[in-house]
Structure formats: C-alpha cells, structure tokens
Subunit: 195 residues, 2 copies
Amino acid sequence: METFFNYLRRYTEHPMSAQEIALLQQAFSRRKVRKRQYILQEGDVCRHLSFITKGAMRQYSVDDKGIEHIVQFGIEDWWMSDRESFELGSVSTYNIDAWEDSEVLQIHYDDWWEIRNSIPAMRILTAEMDKRHAVAAQKRIHAAITLTAEERYLDMLRHQPAFIQRFPQNMIASYLGISPETLSRIRKQAYLKNE
Amino acid sequence: METFFNYLRRYTEHPMSAQEIALLQQAFSRRKVRKRQYILQEGDVCRHLSFITKGAMRQYSVDDKGIEHIVQFGIEDWWMSDRESFELGSVSTYNIDAWEDSEVLQIHYDDWWEIRNSIPAMRILTAEMDKRHAVAAQKRIHAAITLTAEERYLDMLRHQPAFIQRFPQNMIASYLGISPETLSRIRKQAYLKNE
DNA sequence: AAATTGAATTGACAAATGTCAACTACTCAT
DNA sequence: ATGAGTAGTTGACATTTGTCAATTCAATTT
C-alpha cells in the first residue's frame, strides 16, 4: 500500500486526512497474482481497476488464428483495466494476466465511483490519469500511422525502455503490431548500424 | 450555441441553473472558420478548446517530406484541440484547420478550468468526454496493430461513415495510415467483391 | 548430464503496401 | 469557353513486412 500512497502524493499534492486514508485502505484490496494468472478474461466484465504495486502485466486480445495482440503493458505504478468494459459494464474482449509474479491493489467499480465523489484528491487524481492517458494515446496513434516498424521500435526504446527490458521480444513485437521475426531483423540491423 | 446546449443535455442529464448557463455563454465565444483556415498551427501553444457546431475539421502533423498525417477528424458535436499542448502548455506539433466552412465555440484554457470547478454538470461532462475518448483511443490503437489496411477501412466504413462521406479520399487514407493509391485499390477490390 | 521446452534467429519465399509516373475527370477561376 | 489546378485511378516496379520451416541457444526439468 505504501507504493500507492507514494504515487498519490506524487500526483495530487493535496494531502489527505486520516479519515480519507482509512477510506482508501478499506476500498482497495491487495491481491497477489502469480505469473500467467489472469485478472481479467475475455468474456467477463471488468469490474475492478487494478493498481500494480509490484510486477509486470499485459492486456491483450486473441484473434481467430489464436495470435495474441498486446494493447498495453503495465509495471509498478500503472493502472490496469479494460477501460471500455469497466466504464460501460460491457463484456470484455481482452485478457489481462501477469508476466512476472505481481501484486495489485484492486478496487471495485462501485467503490471507485464512491471514492471519487467523496475524496477531492481522488477526483484530481482521476482527471490527471485521464489527461496522461489521453496524451499517451494520441502519441501512440500518431506513431502507428506515421512511423515505420523500425521507427516505432526505436521510439519505444527511447520512451519506454523499462518495457523492453522486462517483457520478452515476441511480446514487444505484438505490442508494436509486427511479427517477432521482423522485430528480430530490425534489431539486427540497428545493431549493425552501431558497429 | 443551441447545438451546444443540446449536446450538453444529451450527456449530462443534470439541468443547469440560469446562472450557470449565463456563465457558459460568457466563457465560450463563437467563431467562424473558413475552409482551409487554421485554428491551431504547429509551433503555437493550443490555448483553446473548440466545440464544432457546424462544419468539418481535421488535426494533422506534417513530416519532413511535407506529407500530412491526420490524427483526428471532427464534425458537428466534436471537440477539437491538441490535448497534449492544451493540458501541458507545450508547443504543439499539430495543425488544426477547417475542411468545410465551420463554426466553433471556443473556450480558453483558464476559463475551462474555472468552469469545471464551478459548474458540477461540466465536471460530469468532462469525465464523460474523457471516458469516451479513452474508449475510442483504445479501439483505434487496437485496430492499428491488429487489422490490415483493408480491414481498417471497412471498420471505418462501418463505424464512422460520416467521415468517409465528408472528407476526400486522400485524407481518409492519411487517417488510416496508408497511401492514397493503396486506398484507391482497396476500394476497387471491395467494390468488385460486391458484384 | 541428458532431455525438454520455448524464445530468438535465420533463410527462402509470398503477400501487402509504398513510390513514381502517367493519365483521366472534375472543379474553379479568369 | 479556356486553362490551371487537384483528386482519383491505374500500371510497373521497389520496398517492407509476413509466413513457414529449420536451426540455434538458453533455461529448466528430470
């Protein structure tokens, strides 16, 4: 829980009262998630929002051919959920599972709603989260329609080195929307250029 | 302004007081934008949020080779801004201009901040906007990394026919991240399939 | 230590998409 | 009415990326 409060302090500035802190501690529940364990499966409704305090997770869909398409990575201090399913209560087409043994703080949709209404700092945090999320999404969309596969990889290398270090290469390829073979070749070429 | 209030009623349910309505009318200013006229240029900071009451606009970047990359279209009832520049006050790398003669309601960043704090309905609206925006962004990212060029076009045809009707084909291609020639061929093939 | 597993690499080839140039059709301004 | 632009189409070819199969490599299990 300490990780989470550090995160809160970083993004809200607003100090919270002891009472508010107690409320938060009540609303969030800690959960260990082992490698390869799911916290959301395709076909279920995403009822919880999860804050990662430890570990590495991913959100992905599986197509007709059984190929996984990763739309999001998450490590410490990241939130995981299928936003569409969570907000709309619709059936999710995504899976979320742990790649490293992880630990998350989960809050139920109803409590999240409640918390945001009753604790001002949480409203600010939500707005901040949405803002950052929107900016990141715009960048990723721009990268997808503008850059080549190699440029997208280099861009990721620069802006999200943590992901590249902690997830295997085939998952990075999936995230970038290219085949593992192509990524392997891109890396080889980039390496040769530096020699 | 009527268009805007219709929109508000549709998304907030909360009726507003006469005083609040007056506040809104004061904060927003109406502006006509002629075809090809800019409301944001690369290098400027995006200080205003614009709600389109009439017309059609687009947001795009221009690369080294002078090629435009469209990241967003907007028509009636859509908001336009470079979210990153608007929220962070950073210099924008995007342009926003009108494709049809348009009319927008503009609000300055400071007033927008103020309005959201003082009018509860606007806070709800903001949250709703962010939510819808996040869902749409996730879908577009998923489409970009999962679908082929043809599938992306068909997806757009199904979910955003209005854009396809109102913007020329080369802009649709830019939005999809493909060359105009490729889109032309995709359309030809799709047409042949239906014969 | 041997065997097993899965990830990463590599090669050969196929498919998708981009580029360039030519041509057509259309609109708009003079 | 004429001419200049602009969008869209088409063909030929280049480049990028995907697919499939084989191989290497490292980690893990037995």
